[in-house]
């Protein structure tokens, strides 16, 4: 966990470039056909259950089995590797980049993710706090709850199989919760963000500073409150 934070440097970075650059790679081997060009705007999934797919990005065909890959985030296509059009690519090959305009909440989360210990989802599944942790959160709030390595904190639910997830990481309090019970989380995505209790004031300072500097930080044209 970062001891000292250079606020000016971090905020300056977001001020000069308030975007996230999301690299989209080949999901598996196959022949690729792009559905976007540089400068195209793309939408993220929408609908009440996020069931309406985002904008088509490319189609990848393996053994006569085409798979359409859609955008998971909104933004503008900043680069496309057009030289790969119609070519066979390996899994993991970078294909294009989406320039995603950051919202205030995302800037805060982005900074926090640099200073929190992020506990990742072991599998794509649905997650909920264990009964004991849930009742303690309901009673006193997450930020009063200290977790240490070996604690059973979260239950992973996959195909009606409930698996307790044991915390592995630094001892600290649960500052951020990144999952919603009943909503699937992809493997590797953070479930919770943990910080040492003595770092809580520092975290609060980050949030206050970003909120205070938000209007100065982001050019009006890029301003997206939520």
């Amino acid at each position: 966990m970062t001891e000292e934070i250079d606020f000016d440097a971090i905020l300056g970075k977001y001020h000069s470039d308030p975007y996230d650059y999301v690299e989209i790679c080949a999901t598996h081997t196959g022949r690729v056909n792009f559905k976007v060009a540089e400068g195209s705007n793309v939408n993220s999934p929408s609908g009440e259950w996020l069931h309406i797919p985002g904008s088509p990005l490319f189609e990848i065909t393996r053994e006569r089995n085409p798979k359409l890959v859609t955008a998971k985030t909104n933004g503008t296509i900043s680069s496309v590797r057009t030289e790969l059009e119609g070519q066979f690519v390996e899994a993991g090959e970078r294909l294009l980049t989406i320039r995603h305009p950051l919202k205030k909440k995302e800037v805060i989360e982005g900074i926090l993710k640099e200073v929190l210990y992020l506990f990742p989802a072991p599998e794509r599944a649905k997650y909920f706090f264990s009964l004991d942790i849930q009742s303690r959160i309901e009673k006193n709030g997450a930020k009063t709850l200290t977790v240490k390595p070996g604690d059973e904190i979260i239950i992973m639910s996959l195909m009606k199989r409930d698996t307790p997830i044991y915390y592995t990481g630094e001892t600290g309090v649960i500052h951020s919760v990144y999952f919603t019970p009943g909503v699937s989380v992809d493997q590797g995505q953070p479930l919770i963000g943990i910080c040492a209790s003595d770092k809580l004031p520092l975290i609060q300072k980050i949030i206050t500073r970003v909120k205070a500097d938000w209007d100065k930080l982001i050019e009006p044209a890029n301003l997206e409150e939520e």
Binding site: T27, H28, G47, E48, W49, H51, I52, P53, E63, R64, N65, K67, A91, E123, R124, A125, K126, L131, S157, L158, M159, K160, R161, D162, T163, P164, Y166, P181, G182, S184
Partner: protein, 314 residues
């Protein structure tokens, strides 16, 4: 007090030899029935029978802990049975009615599975129960995703899988909880229209011992299938994890049997992660993916895929 239902590993082995294996041999779909049964044969190698207990899952956890405290390990495949459960519960801490006459218990399985088999493990319970129930003549029994077994819309069997890490050695186990209504014909008012017993369905009492043996034999088979398919996966050159559909791929034998026994595909359903507390949306089921996830089409024409949750037929 001595348990009423007391199947033994020997009687299970005899049933496997005389009935299960010959029956499976008749189906050309299965390439190596002997091998499949060998893979699953640890199920029921130890069978504990109790007249009464709190929760079978808790008993299983304690059983594992007790063994570790004396420097040993619980035998994988241990079956714990009880004539009645006093504090049984289903998912989301729902109460589960478990009086004398039903089949209540838990199987302890060491986690030796690869990810795909681990994901499909809950399906094995529903398939085994449905096969055992149909074998006795309840031909209308069907599996509802993930693994509920229903007869004419009423639940005859419910299952829950919980994983457990042992406190001393850190071994991972799967606890396969099962509750099957056999001769218990009286249900609390809240369950009266939702649950049914096998004896009510057949119109005659069922020999609980024989049903237990049949169910465990089918668990041996279906767990064996998971292990057999793991072996096959090692020789295949595709990753099931990134395959959106199974075009050009041979179906997993357990999924194939699940499809044969399930009436979920094509049904209009209400979906919810916890359907009793928070039903979410209505959709039509259009398929099941190689990883067991259910594929549905919403009214707006979009497709949605769920890896967890519950369905209610509409």
């Amino acid at each position: 007090m001595t348990a009423i239902n007391r199947p033994t590993p020997a009687s299970l082995q005899e049933y496997l030899r005389k009935h299960e294996l010959p029956n499976r041999r008749q189906n050309p779909q299965y390439p190596s029935p002997e091998k499949i049964i060998r893979y699953g044969a640890i199920i029921g190698s130890v069978i504990q029978c109790h007249s009464s207990m709190g929760r079978a899952m808790e008993q299983a956890r304690q059983h594992i802990i007790n063994y570790e405290e004396i420097g040993g390990s619980a035998a994988s495949g241990t079956v714990i049975l009880a004539d009645t459960l006093i504090h049984s519960k289903g998912r989301f801490a729902r109460t589960w009615h478990a009086p004398i006459g039903g089949l209540w218990g838990c199987i302890i399985l060491a986690d030796t599975f690869m990810p795909r088999a681990r994901t499909l493990l809950p399906l094995a319970l529903g398939v085994a129960c449905c096969e055992a129930v149909r074998d006795l003549g309840a031909k209308k029994a069907c599996v509802r995703w993930v693994n509920d077994v229903l007869v004419s819309g009423q639940k005859i069997g419910g299952f829950l899988v919980e994983s457990f890490r042992s406190p001393h050695y850190g071994e991972e186990y799967h606890l396969l909880g099962f509750g099957i209504n056999i001769n218990n014909n009286c249900f609390p008012e809240t369950l009266a229209n939702l649950a049914v017993s096998l004896s009510h369905t057949l119109g005659t009492p069922v020999n609980l011992h024989d049903f237990t043996i049949s169910f465990l034999a089918k668990m041996i088979w279906n767990i064996g299938i998971l292990c057999y398919e793991e072996e096959q996966d090692l020789h295949r050159d595709f990753s099931w994890e990134d395959s959106g559909d199974s075009e050009g791929q041979k179906d997993h034998l357990l999924l194939e049997q699940w499809k044969n026994l399930s009436d979920t595909l094509g049904r209009r359903v209400l979906y919810g992660y916890d359907i009793q507390k928070k039903p979410q949306y209505e959709a039509r089921v259009t398929g099941i993916r190689p990883d067991g996830a259910i594929v549905m089409r919403l009214d707006d024409g979009n497709q949605i895929i769920e890896h967890s949750g519950e369905l209610q037929y509409l």
